[in-house]
Amino acid sequence: MLRKYSNTRSLGDNIKLGILTAIVAGMVNVASFMLFYSFSSNVTGYFAILASEVSQNNYYQIAIVLLWIMSFFLGSFISNFIVIHFNRRNTYLAHAMPIMLELLCILGVAIYGTSFYNGTLFETELLLMILLLSMGLQNGLTASISNFAVKTTHLTGATTDLAIVFSMFTHKKYRNNKDIKDKAKLLISIFSSYLLGAFIAAFLYQSLKFNVFFIVVAFLTVVIFYDLSKIYKFNRSLKVYKLKKQETEQQNADNVQSNSKQVAIS
Protein backbone atom coordinates (compact mmCIF):
# COMPACT_ATOMS: atom_id res chain seq x y z
CA MET A 1 0.00 0.00 0.00
CA LEU A 2 2.72 2.47 0.94
CA ARG A 3 5.90 0.85 -0.36
CA LYS A 4 5.51 1.62 -4.03
CA TYR A 5 5.57 4.95 -5.81
CA SER A 6 3.71 6.36 -8.83
CA ASN A 7 3.75 4.09 -11.92
CA THR A 8 5.09 1.06 -10.04
CA ARG A 9 1.85 0.94 -8.05
CA SER A 10 -0.81 -1.55 -9.12
CA LEU A 11 -4.58 -1.06 -9.14
CA GLY A 12 -4.76 -3.23 -6.01
CA ASP A 13 -2.31 -0.97 -4.17
CA ASN A 14 -4.34 2.12 -5.06
CA ILE A 15 -7.67 0.53 -4.14
CA LYS A 16 -6.40 -0.61 -0.74
CA LEU A 17 -4.95 2.81 0.03
CA GLY A 18 -8.01 4.59 -1.36
CA ILE A 19 -10.49 2.52 0.66
CA LEU A 20 -8.80 2.90 4.02
CA THR A 21 -7.97 6.59 3.67
CA ALA A 22 -11.45 7.40 2.28
CA ILE A 23 -13.05 5.74 5.32
CA VAL A 24 -10.80 7.90 7.50
CA ALA A 25 -11.71 11.04 5.54
CA GLY A 26 -15.44 10.31 5.76
CA MET A 27 -15.29 9.67 9.49
CA VAL A 28 -13.19 12.75 10.26
CA ASN A 29 -15.38 15.03 8.14
CA VAL A 30 -18.68 13.94 9.66
CA ALA A 31 -17.29 13.89 13.20
CA SER A 32 -15.87 17.40 12.81
CA PHE A 33 -19.19 18.70 11.43
CA MET A 34 -21.18 17.19 14.26
CA LEU A 35 -18.74 18.34 16.94
CA PHE A 36 -17.71 21.73 15.57
CA TYR A 37 -20.34 22.58 12.93
CA SER A 38 -17.63 22.90 10.27
CA PHE A 39 -16.07 20.45 7.85
CA SER A 40 -12.42 19.46 8.05
CA SER A 41 -11.72 19.08 4.33
CA ASN A 42 -14.16 21.34 2.51
CA VAL A 43 -11.50 23.67 1.11
CA THR A 44 -13.59 24.63 -1.94
CA GLY A 45 -16.36 25.72 0.38
CA TYR A 46 -13.95 27.66 2.59
CA PHE A 47 -12.74 29.71 -0.37
CA ALA A 48 -16.35 30.62 -1.10
CA ILE A 49 -16.95 31.39 2.59
CA LEU A 50 -13.82 33.54 2.63
CA ALA A 51 -15.17 35.65 -0.24
CA SER A 52 -18.51 35.96 1.56
CA GLU A 53 -16.90 37.03 4.85
CA VAL A 54 -14.69 39.56 3.06
CA SER A 55 -17.79 41.12 1.48
CA GLN A 56 -19.33 41.44 4.96
CA ASN A 57 -16.12 42.75 6.62
CA ASN A 58 -16.14 39.99 9.24
CA TYR A 59 -12.46 40.26 10.14
CA TYR A 60 -12.54 37.48 12.71
CA GLN A 61 -14.10 34.96 10.33
CA ILE A 62 -11.71 36.04 7.55
CA ALA A 63 -8.72 35.37 9.82
CA ILE A 64 -10.06 31.99 10.94
CA VAL A 65 -10.93 30.76 7.45
CA LEU A 66 -7.51 31.88 6.15
CA LEU A 67 -5.84 29.96 8.98
CA TRP A 68 -7.85 26.85 8.13
CA ILE A 69 -7.00 27.03 4.42
CA MET A 70 -3.32 27.56 5.27
CA SER A 71 -3.45 24.60 7.60
CA PHE A 72 -4.69 22.28 4.85
CA PHE A 73 -2.09 23.73 2.47
CA LEU A 74 0.65 23.17 5.02
CA GLY A 75 -0.42 19.56 5.50
CA SER A 76 -0.21 18.81 1.78
CA PHE A 77 3.10 20.68 1.55
CA ILE A 78 4.66 18.72 4.40
CA SER A 79 3.41 15.42 2.94
CA ASN A 80 4.94 15.87 -0.48
CA PHE A 81 8.06 17.47 1.01
CA ILE A 82 8.71 14.30 3.03
CA VAL A 83 7.97 12.02 0.06
CA ILE A 84 10.30 13.72 -2.41
CA HIS A 85 13.18 14.30 0.01
CA PHE A 86 13.23 10.90 1.72
CA ASN A 87 12.00 8.61 -1.07
CA ARG A 88 15.47 7.53 -2.10
CA ARG A 89 16.60 6.61 1.42
CA ASN A 90 13.59 4.48 2.38
CA THR A 91 10.44 4.46 0.26
CA TYR A 92 8.21 2.91 2.93
CA LEU A 93 9.32 5.36 5.62
CA ALA A 94 8.96 8.36 3.29
CA HIS A 95 5.37 7.34 2.57
CA ALA A 96 4.49 6.26 6.10
CA MET A 97 5.73 9.43 7.84
CA PRO A 98 2.86 11.67 6.63
CA ILE A 99 0.36 9.03 7.80
CA MET A 100 2.14 8.89 11.17
CA LEU A 101 1.92 12.68 11.46
CA GLU A 102 -1.77 12.50 10.54
CA LEU A 103 -2.27 9.83 13.18
CA LEU A 104 -0.57 11.99 15.80
CA CYS A 105 -2.78 14.99 14.87
CA ILE A 106 -6.01 12.99 15.12
CA LEU A 107 -4.85 11.25 18.29
CA GLY A 108 -4.09 14.65 19.80
CA VAL A 109 -7.58 15.87 18.94
CA ALA A 110 -9.13 12.70 20.41
CA ILE A 111 -7.20 12.96 23.69
CA TYR A 112 -7.79 16.69 24.08
CA GLY A 113 -11.46 16.35 23.19
CA THR A 114 -12.14 13.56 25.66
CA SER A 115 -10.13 15.01 28.55
CA PHE A 116 -9.77 18.80 28.32
CA TYR A 117 -12.27 20.25 25.85
CA ASN A 118 -14.45 23.04 27.30
CA GLY A 119 -16.22 24.01 24.11
CA THR A 120 -14.75 27.50 23.79
CA LEU A 121 -14.51 29.04 20.34
CA PHE A 122 -10.71 29.14 20.49
CA GLU A 123 -10.52 25.39 21.23
CA THR A 124 -13.03 24.61 18.47
CA GLU A 125 -11.05 26.51 15.89
CA LEU A 126 -7.69 25.14 17.00
CA LEU A 127 -8.93 21.55 16.85
CA LEU A 128 -10.44 22.17 13.42
CA MET A 129 -7.13 23.62 12.29
CA ILE A 130 -5.36 20.44 13.41
CA LEU A 131 -7.94 18.27 11.64
CA LEU A 132 -7.52 20.30 8.46
CA LEU A 133 -3.76 19.84 8.75
CA SER A 134 -4.28 16.08 9.07
CA MET A 135 -6.57 15.97 6.04
CA GLY A 136 -4.03 17.99 4.08
CA LEU A 137 -1.32 15.48 5.06
CA GLN A 138 -3.52 12.60 3.91
CA ASN A 139 -4.63 14.16 0.65
CA GLY A 140 -1.11 15.30 -0.15
CA LEU A 141 0.32 11.83 0.41
CA THR A 142 -2.34 9.84 -1.47
CA ALA A 143 -2.28 12.17 -4.45
CA SER A 144 1.52 12.28 -4.53
CA ILE A 145 2.35 8.57 -4.33
CA SER A 146 -0.50 7.44 -6.59
CA ASN A 147 0.27 10.02 -9.28
CA PHE A 148 -3.00 11.82 -8.50
CA ALA A 149 -5.06 8.69 -9.08
CA VAL A 150 -6.24 8.47 -5.45
CA LYS A 151 -7.92 11.54 -3.94
CA THR A 152 -9.78 10.78 -0.75
CA THR A 153 -10.89 14.19 0.50
CA HIS A 154 -11.24 15.84 -2.88
CA LEU A 155 -14.63 14.45 -3.82
CA THR A 156 -15.39 17.32 -6.19
CA GLY A 157 -12.55 16.14 -8.40
CA ALA A 158 -13.45 12.48 -7.89
CA THR A 159 -17.08 13.11 -8.86
CA THR A 160 -15.92 14.95 -11.99
CA ASP A 161 -13.59 12.08 -12.89
CA LEU A 162 -16.31 9.47 -12.33
CA ALA A 163 -18.77 11.38 -14.49
CA ILE A 164 -16.17 11.60 -17.25
CA VAL A 165 -15.46 7.88 -16.99
CA PHE A 166 -19.17 6.99 -17.14
CA SER A 167 -19.66 9.25 -20.15
CA MET A 168 -16.76 7.44 -21.84
CA PHE A 169 -18.54 4.12 -21.30
CA THR A 170 -21.34 5.35 -23.54
CA HIS A 171 -18.90 5.13 -26.47
CA LYS A 172 -18.12 1.69 -27.93
CA LYS A 173 -14.44 2.59 -28.30
CA TYR A 174 -13.86 3.02 -24.55
CA ARG A 175 -16.17 0.38 -23.16
CA ASN A 176 -13.52 -2.34 -23.03
CA ASN A 177 -10.58 -0.08 -22.21
CA LYS A 178 -8.82 -1.61 -19.21
CA ASP A 179 -7.40 1.69 -17.88
CA ILE A 180 -10.80 3.37 -17.87
CA LYS A 181 -12.43 0.35 -16.21
CA ASP A 182 -9.70 0.32 -13.54
CA LYS A 183 -10.22 4.04 -12.92
CA ALA A 184 -13.97 3.48 -12.52
CA LYS A 185 -13.35 0.67 -10.00
CA LEU A 186 -10.97 2.89 -8.02
CA LEU A 187 -13.33 5.88 -7.94
CA ILE A 188 -16.36 3.79 -6.97
CA SER A 189 -14.32 2.17 -4.18
CA ILE A 190 -13.31 5.60 -2.88
CA PHE A 191 -16.89 6.93 -2.95
CA SER A 192 -18.31 3.87 -1.23
CA SER A 193 -15.61 3.92 1.43
CA TYR A 194 -16.08 7.63 2.09
CA LEU A 195 -19.82 7.10 2.56
CA LEU A 196 -19.18 4.09 4.77
CA GLY A 197 -16.84 6.14 6.94
CA ALA A 198 -19.38 8.96 7.10
CA PHE A 199 -22.19 6.58 8.14
CA ILE A 200 -20.02 4.93 10.79
CA ALA A 201 -19.12 8.29 12.31
CA ALA A 202 -22.72 9.55 12.16
CA PHE A 203 -24.06 6.47 13.93
CA LEU A 204 -21.31 6.27 16.52
CA TYR A 205 -21.13 10.01 17.24
CA GLN A 206 -24.15 10.09 19.58
CA SER A 207 -22.64 7.54 21.94
CA LEU A 208 -18.91 8.14 21.44
CA LYS A 209 -18.53 11.89 20.68
CA PHE A 210 -14.74 12.57 20.57
CA ASN A 211 -13.94 8.87 20.99
CA VAL A 212 -14.86 8.44 17.30
CA PHE A 213 -11.40 9.78 16.53
CA PHE A 214 -9.82 6.81 18.33
CA ILE A 215 -11.48 4.54 15.76
CA VAL A 216 -9.99 6.72 13.03
CA VAL A 217 -6.57 6.26 14.67
CA ALA A 218 -7.13 2.48 14.53
CA PHE A 219 -7.74 2.63 10.77
CA LEU A 220 -4.58 4.68 10.25
CA THR A 221 -2.61 2.17 12.32
CA VAL A 222 -3.76 -0.57 9.94
CA VAL A 223 -2.54 1.53 6.97
CA ILE A 224 0.90 1.99 8.58
CA PHE A 225 1.41 -1.59 9.74
CA TYR A 226 0.00 -3.33 6.66
CA ASP A 227 3.14 -2.76 4.63
CA LEU A 228 5.41 -2.93 7.66
CA SER A 229 4.30 -6.49 8.33
CA LYS A 230 4.99 -7.42 4.71
CA ILE A 231 8.44 -5.81 4.86
CA TYR A 232 9.14 -7.66 8.12
CA LYS A 233 8.04 -10.99 6.61
CA PHE A 234 10.05 -10.30 3.45
CA ASN A 235 13.18 -9.40 5.43
CA ARG A 236 12.77 -12.47 7.62
CA SER A 237 12.30 -14.74 4.58
CA LEU A 238 15.35 -13.16 2.95
CA LYS A 239 17.41 -13.78 6.09
CA VAL A 240 16.27 -17.42 6.27
CA TYR A 241 17.01 -17.87 2.56
CA LYS A 242 20.51 -16.43 2.96
CA LEU A 243 21.22 -18.68 5.96
CA LYS A 244 20.07 -21.77 4.07
CA LYS A 245 22.15 -20.76 1.08
CA GLN A 246 25.21 -20.36 3.30
CA GLU A 247 24.58 -23.76 4.88
CA THR A 248 24.18 -25.38 1.43
CA GLU A 249 27.38 -23.76 0.19
CA GLN A 250 29.18 -24.89 3.33
CA GLN A 251 27.90 -28.43 2.86
CA ASN A 252 28.96 -28.43 -0.79
CA ALA A 253 32.39 -27.14 0.17
CA ASP A 254 32.71 -29.88 2.83
CA ASN A 255 31.61 -32.54 0.30
CA VAL A 256 34.15 -31.34 -2.24
CA GLN A 257 36.90 -31.42 0.40
CA SER A 258 36.03 -34.95 1.56
CA ASN A 259 35.84 -36.16 -2.09
CA SER A 260 39.24 -34.72 -2.87
CA LYS A 261 40.71 -36.37 0.25
CA GLN A 262 39.28 -39.74 -0.79
CA VAL A 263 40.72 -39.33 -4.27
CA ALA A 264 44.09 -38.42 -2.76
CA ILE A 265 44.03 -41.51 -0.49
CA SER A 266 43.04 -43.83 -3.33
Binding site: Y37, Y60, Q61, I62, L67, M70, N118, G119, T120, L121
Partner: protein, 149 residues
Protein backbone atom coordinates in the same frame (compact mmCIF):
# COMPACT_ATOMS: atom_id res chain seq x y z
CA UNK B 1 17.63 23.70 1.51
CA UNK B 2 17.94 24.68 5.17
CA UNK B 3 17.46 28.35 4.25
CA UNK B 4 14.33 27.49 2.27
CA UNK B 5 12.87 25.52 5.18
CA UNK B 6 13.73 28.35 7.57
CA UNK B 7 12.06 30.92 5.30
CA UNK B 8 8.94 28.81 4.94
CA UNK B 9 8.74 28.30 8.70
CA UNK B 10 9.29 32.03 9.30
CA UNK B 11 6.57 33.03 6.86
CA UNK B 12 4.16 30.48 8.37
CA UNK B 13 4.89 31.62 11.93
CA UNK B 14 4.39 35.31 11.08
CA UNK B 15 1.12 34.54 9.29
CA UNK B 16 -0.15 32.46 12.21
CA UNK B 17 0.78 35.18 14.74
CA UNK B 18 -0.88 37.94 12.71
CA UNK B 19 -4.03 35.91 12.16
CA UNK B 20 -4.16 34.85 15.81
CA UNK B 21 -3.84 38.51 16.86
CA UNK B 22 -6.73 39.48 14.59
CA UNK B 23 -8.74 36.56 15.95
CA UNK B 24 -8.10 37.57 19.54
CA UNK B 25 -9.03 41.21 18.91
CA UNK B 26 -12.29 40.53 17.08
CA UNK B 27 -13.46 37.43 19.01
CA UNK B 28 -17.26 37.28 18.67
CA UNK B 29 -17.62 35.69 22.12
CA UNK B 30 -16.73 39.07 23.63
CA UNK B 31 -19.57 40.72 21.65
CA UNK B 32 -22.16 38.33 23.07
CA UNK B 33 -21.37 38.91 26.74
CA UNK B 34 -24.00 41.12 28.36
CA UNK B 35 -27.75 41.46 28.82
CA UNK B 36 -30.13 41.36 25.89
CA UNK B 37 -33.90 41.66 25.44
CA UNK B 38 -35.80 39.60 22.90
CA UNK B 39 -37.63 41.93 20.53
CA UNK B 40 -38.73 39.69 17.67
CA UNK B 41 -39.34 36.02 16.87
CA UNK B 42 -40.51 35.52 13.31
CA UNK B 43 -41.13 32.26 11.50
CA UNK B 44 -40.28 32.79 7.85
CA UNK B 45 -40.28 29.31 6.31
CA UNK B 46 -43.80 28.25 7.22
CA UNK B 47 -45.40 31.50 6.00
CA UNK B 48 -43.65 31.37 2.65
CA UNK B 49 -44.31 27.73 1.93
CA UNK B 50 -46.51 26.80 -1.01
CA UNK B 51 -48.82 24.63 1.05
CA UNK B 52 -49.74 27.47 3.43
CA UNK B 53 -50.19 29.95 0.58
CA UNK B 54 -52.59 27.59 -1.17
CA UNK B 55 -54.60 27.27 2.03
CA UNK B 56 -53.86 23.57 2.31
CA UNK B 57 -52.28 24.01 5.73
CA UNK B 58 -53.13 26.65 8.28
CA UNK B 59 -50.22 28.90 9.24
CA UNK B 60 -49.12 28.36 12.85
CA UNK B 61 -50.89 30.32 15.58
CA UNK B 62 -49.05 32.55 18.04
CA UNK B 63 -48.80 29.69 20.52
CA UNK B 64 -47.52 27.25 17.88
CA UNK B 65 -44.85 29.73 16.74
CA UNK B 66 -43.00 29.38 19.99
CA UNK B 67 -43.37 25.62 20.04
CA UNK B 68 -40.81 25.33 17.23
CA UNK B 69 -38.04 26.33 19.58
CA UNK B 70 -37.50 24.95 23.06
CA UNK B 71 -35.72 27.78 24.87
CA UNK B 72 -37.82 30.94 25.10
CA UNK B 73 -37.45 34.04 27.27
CA UNK B 74 -37.79 37.80 27.28
CA UNK B 75 -34.38 38.46 28.76
CA UNK B 76 -31.13 36.80 27.67
CA UNK B 77 -28.00 37.23 29.79
CA UNK B 78 -24.81 35.89 28.25
CA UNK B 79 -22.11 35.46 30.88
CA UNK B 80 -18.45 34.61 30.27
CA UNK B 81 -17.54 30.94 30.62
CA UNK B 82 -20.53 29.77 28.60
CA UNK B 83 -23.31 30.57 31.10
CA UNK B 84 -26.62 31.80 29.69
CA UNK B 85 -29.44 32.97 31.93
CA UNK B 86 -32.91 33.12 30.40
CA UNK B 87 -35.42 35.18 32.35
CA UNK B 88 -39.11 35.20 31.73
CA UNK B 89 -42.03 36.61 33.75
CA UNK B 90 -41.97 33.92 36.42
CA UNK B 91 -38.97 31.76 35.85
CA UNK B 92 -35.25 31.85 35.36
CA UNK B 93 -33.27 29.14 33.60
CA UNK B 94 -29.54 28.59 33.47
CA UNK B 95 -28.21 27.14 30.23
CA UNK B 96 -24.90 26.75 28.42
CA UNK B 97 -23.97 28.74 25.35
CA UNK B 98 -21.14 28.15 22.92
CA UNK B 99 -20.03 29.49 19.56
CA UNK B 100 -19.22 26.86 16.98
CA UNK B 101 -17.55 26.69 13.57
CA UNK B 102 -15.79 29.94 12.71
CA UNK B 103 -17.90 31.80 15.26
CA UNK B 104 -20.97 31.82 13.05
CA UNK B 105 -23.13 29.30 14.97
CA UNK B 106 -24.62 29.81 18.44
CA UNK B 107 -25.33 26.63 20.37
CA UNK B 108 -27.53 26.77 23.48
CA UNK B 109 -28.28 23.74 25.58
CA UNK B 110 -29.76 22.78 28.91
CA UNK B 111 -28.04 19.41 28.77
CA UNK B 112 -31.09 17.72 27.30
CA UNK B 113 -32.23 19.85 24.35
CA UNK B 114 -29.70 21.65 22.17
CA UNK B 115 -30.62 24.41 19.72
CA UNK B 116 -28.52 25.98 17.01
CA UNK B 117 -28.76 29.48 15.57
CA UNK B 118 -26.89 30.89 12.61
CA UNK B 119 -25.58 34.36 13.50
CA UNK B 120 -26.85 36.67 10.80
CA UNK B 121 -25.92 39.97 12.45
CA UNK B 122 -23.70 40.66 15.44
CA UNK B 123 -23.26 44.27 16.52
CA UNK B 124 -22.97 46.25 19.76
CA UNK B 125 -26.71 46.95 19.85
CA UNK B 126 -28.42 44.07 18.05
CA UNK B 127 -28.03 40.37 17.33
CA UNK B 128 -30.01 38.59 14.62
CA UNK B 129 -30.10 34.82 14.84
CA UNK B 130 -31.52 32.46 12.24
CA UNK B 131 -32.97 29.40 13.91
CA UNK B 132 -31.55 26.20 12.37
CA UNK B 133 -34.23 23.55 12.05
CA UNK B 134 -33.26 19.92 12.78
CA UNK B 135 -33.10 19.36 9.01
CA UNK B 136 -30.33 22.02 8.89
CA UNK B 137 -32.62 24.52 7.13
CA UNK B 138 -31.23 27.89 8.17
CA UNK B 139 -33.71 30.44 6.89
CA UNK B 140 -36.62 29.00 8.84
CA UNK B 141 -37.15 31.47 11.66
CA UNK B 142 -35.40 34.57 12.95
CA UNK B 143 -34.77 35.70 16.51
CA UNK B 144 -33.75 39.28 17.19
CA UNK B 145 -32.37 40.45 20.51
CA UNK B 146 -31.33 43.96 21.50
CA UNK B 147 -28.85 44.96 24.16
CA UNK B 148 -30.56 46.03 27.38
CA UNK B 149 -30.20 49.69 28.23
Amino acid sequence: MKIRIALILLFTSISVIVLAFIGNKYNPENEFVGSWDEIDWNIKGAEKSVVTNLGLVQPPSEEDRDSIRFHTAKSWKFRPGGVLILQDKHEEKELEWRLKGRGHILEITDGVVTEYYDINLLSDEKIELNYIAPSFVKDYARLVIRRSS
